[in-house]
């Protein structure tokens, strides 16, 4: 009998925990006839988002929430998912990226080398534009807007689209929009309501898909290798099931929130295919910069982009 320590930083009741993490833990225990059990530390009890990488690596926890978007310096290739406009729906991005990170070169370079292995992860809803007090009709209107971003590729993409990226912490977003420190935010659609942004925004531009966040749980490789093969298999089976559940829930609630915003009187603009193509064309330099930056350091950036694109295509046609 094994008891594994699981840690993440989601607030209690977060939908990924409710539909994914809890399900995954229960399912693994069930599939292994109670031989693998879990001790769960949520809500940042075992450290903040930025601590998680080290907490898993040093063995403080066995399974942890380690998003590459916040660990670009240690997991450079997995950052491919932060490039703009790759896909719109979680049910496409989630399995496509799972296949990508569980294959080389990402698996070895970003995970095994760091002593960890991806268990399962979900793509959140894509990041879109939410503004206050600005007349927004099309992509051109992004020009000159001060927008809350997360540093990294998102910032580069916004610059490519003509915006002025402002790095402020998520909890300050509400006030920053309300008082006009920023004109708006690049935010995941499904988080608009958890940060109460619906009270301060008047316009939503969906289909921009300028960024997406991958929320993965990883296991320390040493622990993984110590598990019986049938237990490893149980974890993988439970992982597939959990990912599907969360991906469906993500897409469902994104659609629901879009309607909710409309009903609340927020002007919702959904970009059409031509406009999305324009976003992709405008942000293409971000891809080139990312790939050449990695290749300059001897890492196969181009190969990773191609592999991820191929997997996206595979799941898009399914």
């Amino acid at each position: 009998e094994t008891t594994l320590k699981v840690a993440d930083t989601f607030p209690p009741g977060h939908y990924i925990v409710e539909t994914g993490t809890n399900y995954w833990m229960e399912r693994v225990t069930e599939l292994t006839d109670g031989e693998v059990k879990f001790q769960y530390f949520g809500a940042g009890q075992m450290g903040s988002l930025r601590d998680m990488f080290s907490m898993v690596q040093s063995g403080v926890v066995d399974v942890g929430y380690v998003p590459p978007a916040y660990n670009g310096g240690t997991m450079p290739l997995a950052g491919v998912h932060t490039l703009p406009g790759l896909f719109s729906q979680s049910k496409v991005g989630t399995p496509a990226f799972y296949d990508t990170v569980t294959s080389e070169p990402i698996l070895g370079n970003d995970f095994l080398k760091n002593g960890m292995r991806p268990l399962w992860g979900v793509m959140t809803s894509t990041y879109n534009l939410f503004t206050r007090g600005k007349e927004i009709d099309g992509l051109e209107d992004i020009n000159g807007l001060k927008l809350k971003i997360i540093a990294g590729n998102m910032s580069e993409s916004i610059k490519a689209l003509g915006g002025a990226p402002v790095d402020i912490p998520s909890p300050e977003t509400y006030q920053a929009i309300r008082t006009g420190t920023v004109d708006g935010a690049i935010f995941p659609t499904t988080s608009v309501y958890s940060y109460k942004l619906e009270e301060v925004i008047d316009t939503a531009v969906l289909g921009l898909d300028v960024f997406v966040y991958w929320a993965p749980y990883v296991i320390r490789e040493e622990v993984w290798q110590g598990l019986a093969p049938e237990h490893q298999q149980a974890m993988q089976q439970a992982a597939q099931e959990a990912m599907q559940r969360v991906a469906e829930e993500t897409d469902r609630s994104a659609a629901e929130l879009e309607n909710k915003m409309r009903e609340a009187g927020i002007k919702v603009i959904v970009l059409d295919e031509a406009q999305r193509e324009q976003v992709r064309a405008t942000t293409a330099p971000v891809f080139h910069a990312w790939v050449s930056g990695l290749e300059g350091r001897g890492m196969p950036g181009g190969e990773v982009v191609e592999a991820f694109r191929a997997n996206i295509e595979k799941y898009q046609t399914q």
Partner: protein
Amino acid sequence: MEYLAPVSFLLAGLLIVGTPIGFAMGIAGTVGLYLIGGLNLALGILSVAPYRNTASWLLTAIPLFILMAEILSASRISSDMFRAANKWVGHLPGGLAVATVFTSAGFGAVSGSSTAATATMARTVAPEANKYGYDRGMIVGTVAAAGTLSIMIPPSVVLMVYGIITETSIGGLFIAGIVPGLITALSFAGITMGWAGLNPDLAPPVQSHSWRERILSLRELWPVIVLFVFVVAGIYSGAVTVTEAAAAGCFGAILIAAVMLRRMGWRDFMDALERTTRPTAMIFTIIIGAHIFGYFVTLTMAPQALVSYVQGLEVSPGMVILILIVIFVLLGCVMDQLAILILTMPIVFPMVMELGYSPIWFGILITKTVEIGLITPPIGMNVFVASSITGVPLKRVFVGVLPFVLAEFAVLALIAFFPEIVTAFSGEY
């Protein structure tokens, strides 16, 4: 769970024999982690926690709000305020103490740290109080208690830390703190007047001033008013975020002190920086120690057990809040306030939210218990600071703050029973 009691005793023992608070929590936490998971677990946390807890953008406000207060102190603006306040209320029973309360409230509007405010006020008030023959226990007790106003009246490091841990709007918390802060200040003023009225020997009368002098004394207040407006307008106009407001406040303070009043030169500024680095290092040592100890407590699974116990009690939500307040006040007696927030909020806050209470109201309530903790024995940070600066023995200061502790409980009850005091002004946030 079995290690929780012995390690807590170890912590208490370390504290009693005089180990610095941050060190004691770090040492006891390390021993606990070692007991639970061996050297590897302890090292895993020790190698990460100290650096990570300093590498924080949001916590830049701690050194910067202290620096702002130190600049005002270095340029003797706090003394000007105190002199002006004296002209208005000095003739009342316990006049100097009443002036101390109001000056502290005013200083609180430009200081985010009770440590910095208490230190400044102790330096300002002590010489005057000696001159008029005030009871030293009483006046230093007043300084220690009134110093807590700095964390309720915005800006406030405690409200910021609460906001960061619980992801509550810091701007909303700041607005919400104003009215409770003012109510507390008035209750403190009332207490000092009543106390001095009963024992006039403790607080001999100070000379009365003419209305002309009083009106003229208002000129002394402009730097603080300008600075407060500067910071608040900066935040609420959107020019700066709450985090950046601390830097903007320092900038304003430097302008006023160095350029307008010409009272601060390069050396004074360097000294203000020096005075800032010490409490900053002290506070962060405690934050680091609290995190290490916090990891230990979390890994014992005791907090989870406690929460399920309380949730299983089947008592009304109001009763749960009452239990929590009692726990926080008791913890506040024996532990450092930031440490308590760091240790308990990840566990307690979700529970309170489930009960349906306002996060801002709960934050103000918790801040009130923090204020109480700052002045209750055996660990009362403000009492330590005021005592060490003035040289008045700890025991006398603890006696001196006693009436204020009672006033604090009254205001705490007021906020608990009339949440509107808090929510009426912070609704939009």
